[in-house]
């Protein structure tokens, strides 16, 4: 069974600074997807970034980038130039590469609560 671990329950960063959120996972699969979702106080789940395990290049989305280390089973999220609107709970998630989307199932970590301080 797959597991996702986020070892930092809470983090704090000053506005405009850079912060890195950690995520490790355990799987015997060789082909899979990894995601970071953001959940602000409104509770909506917002996709931040996605990484395919077969791609060596780290995914980036504007101020958000990942450090994907497949051998170490590590998938950290870096937020550059932090903004007050980045304050949220961040969830790391794993999805096995299935034979069809119908078997898609996200396995979530326990989340990291990020507070951006003015």
């Amino acid at each position: 069974a797959q597991t996702v671990t986020q070892s930092q329950p809470e983090m704090s960063v000053q506005e405009a600074e850079t912060v890195t959120l950690s995520c490790t996972y355990d799987t015997s699969e060789s082909n899979y997807y990894l995601f970071w979702y953001k959940q602000p106080p409104s509770r909506q789940m917002i996709l931040v970034i996605r990484q395919e395990a077969y791609k060596q290049q780290n995914a980036t989305e504007n101020r958000f980038s990942v450090n994907f280390q497949k051998a170490a089973k590590s998938f950290s999220l870096k937020i550059s130039d932090s903004q007050l609107g980045d304050t949220a709970m961040y969830f790391c998630a794993f999805m096995k590469h299935g034979s069809g989307g119908a078997t898609n199932k996200l396995i979530f970590g326990t989340g990291t609560l990020l507070a951006v301080q003015p």
Partner: protein, 117 residues
């Protein structure tokens, strides 16, 4: 236009009641899901449907009955509500994928906050 919309957003009800949460997606996806987020904010899948067919049922009590009238809708009916059912319920959708591209990305609704008193 909200891509994945759920109603109601907030629901307070008494133990023993029956309630439903509705979900609709306008993304053209053929797979829909229900996830539950408990009081500790842990998220876990409950069900998934593909083209109206139940695919995943994650050991959910049979008081929970999903219904998919078509591939754009997935409703969740809960019978005999218990205190432990209090949670945020998220509907989500995706394309049936399996290869490269965004087919495996799951998009979530805004959540329905259920409180059982």
């Amino acid at each position: 236009d909200t891509a994945v919309s759920q109603t109601p957003k907030y629901l307070v009800t008494q133990m023993g009641n029956d309630k439903s949460i509705k979900c609709e997606q306008n993304l053209g996806h053929d797979t829909m899901y229900w996830y539950k987020q408990d009081s500790k904010k842990f998220l876990k899948i409950m069900f998934s449907y593909n083209n109206k067919e139940l695919i995943i049922n994650e050991t959910v009590p049979n008081r929970f009955s999903p219904k998919s009238p078509d591939k754009a809708h997935l409703n969740l009916h809960i019978n005999s509500l218990e205190l432990g059912d209090s949670a945020v319920y998220f509907c989500a959708s995706s394309h049936r994928g399996g290869g490269a591209g965004s087919g495996n990305t799951i998009y979530f609704g805004e959540g329905s906050w259920l409180t059982v008193v």
